[in-house]
């Protein structure tokens, strides 16, 4: 019977997980069976995917990608790895969405932002003191390389305007709108949907303040448009953007994107 252990094929004639562990990797601290950590002595079947991990041991580069993918749901991972997603805006939403997509193992990301990291970003955006003054695109590349070096990242440090949207986003079938200003949100959504009728857009609207978490939802108002947020609470004087609700909204957008990659459109 064929199974996969730490990314390599093995032909085995033992059918119990613990027997395999004792034979091939007795020092392992963690056993992940088809994407799920287990201590049970599971009976194995053909094509099972097993990862044995020894804590504190740095694996070889060959092994690293397989070990990193241990918690990805098998078979879903291949689709995710082939996917390409563009993220427009690397502020509170976009920076956190890009990190989540990288952790999920999305094969290729296009990250677009014209700005540099400044101190008032740190209350909600995924940057550190050491990134102050850096281009947001460069700060994201640095972080993503440290999280998942196996994905491809393309960056554009430009301001997105009416006249460059087609050129920037033409190769991406999923575009994440993560801008701050409502006029720019509307502009991107309008342009993408007009010029690329088959592109899916995952946009955002309403995540300021500390209102109830559950007001933030994913909706599907147009055929190819998904909108995450409470559609109500804008950032304004006296009502700032705070990390929790911005991250909740970012999580909605990242999961909507993952579901679109897996061809799941219901909300």
């Amino acid at each position: 019977m064929r199974i996969f252990i730490n990314g390599k094929k093995f032909d085995i004639d033992e059918f119990k997980l613990h027997t395999i562990k004792n034979k091939y990797f007795p020092e392992a601290d963690i056993v992940i069976y088809n994407g799920f950590e287990t201590v049970e002595n599971v009976t194995l079947v053909e094509n099972d995917i097993i990862h044995f991990i020894k804590k504190g041991v740095l694996p070889s580069e060959d092994e690293l990608e397989s070990l990193m993918s241990a918690r990805h749901t098998p078979f879903v991972h291949n689709k995710v790895k082939e996917a390409k997603v563009a993220v427009a805006g690397l502020g509170g939403l976009g920076s956190n969405i890009a990190i989540m997509l990288a952790r999920t193992g999305i094969g290729k990301l296009l990250l677009v932002d014209f700005d540099i990291v400044e101190p008032s970003n740190l209350n909600r955006q995924c940057y550190y003191i050491g990134h102050l003054g850096m281009k947001k695109t460069e700060a994201m590349v640095e972080q993503i390389k440290n999280i998942n070096p196996f994905i491809e990242v393309e960056t554009r440090c430009v301001k997105v305007e009416q006249n460059n949207i087609v050129e920037i986003f033409k190769d991406y079938k999923i575009v994440c709108e993560a801008f701050d200003k409502p006029e720019y949100k509307a502009m991107l959504v309008n342009q993408i949907m007009h010029h690329f009728p088959n592109t899916k857009v995952v946009a955002s609207s309403g995540m300021a303040g500390y209102y109830r978490s559950n007001k933030i939802q994913t909706t599907h108002p147009f055929k190819n448009l998904f909108v995450c947020g409470d559609n109500e609470n804008e950032a304004k004087a006296g009502q700032g953007l705070m990390a929790p609700r911005v991250n909740i909204c970012a999580g909605h957008q990242a999961n909507a994107i993952l579901r679109l990659i897996l061809e799941l459109e219901d909300v």
């Binding site: 976009g94 200003k181 509307a186 959504v189 147009f222 804008e234 911005v246």
Partner: protein, 64 residues
């Protein structure tokens, strides 16, 4: 006609721009789909809305 799922009866055909303004939408912050098709901003003045139309308006609020 249906506007974001709510039924309205129009006395006469009106432009999309007029419909949006009457319903307090800010044109610069919206995206509009009419009968399942995205409606480019350049056409908002030219498009007339009649009672058979199904209109979805997404109005964005700031923050991100």
């Amino acid at each position: 006609m249906l506007l974001n799922g709510k039924e309205f009866i129009l006395d006469s055909e009106i432009s999309l721009t007029t419909l949006l303004e009457k319903n307090n939408f800010q044109i610069s912050k919206v995206a509009v789909e009419i009968n399942g098709d995205i409606c480019p901003k350049a056409n908002f003045d030219k498009i007339t809305i009649s009672n058979q139309d199904i209109i979805e308006v997404v109005s964005f609020v700031g923050g991100g």
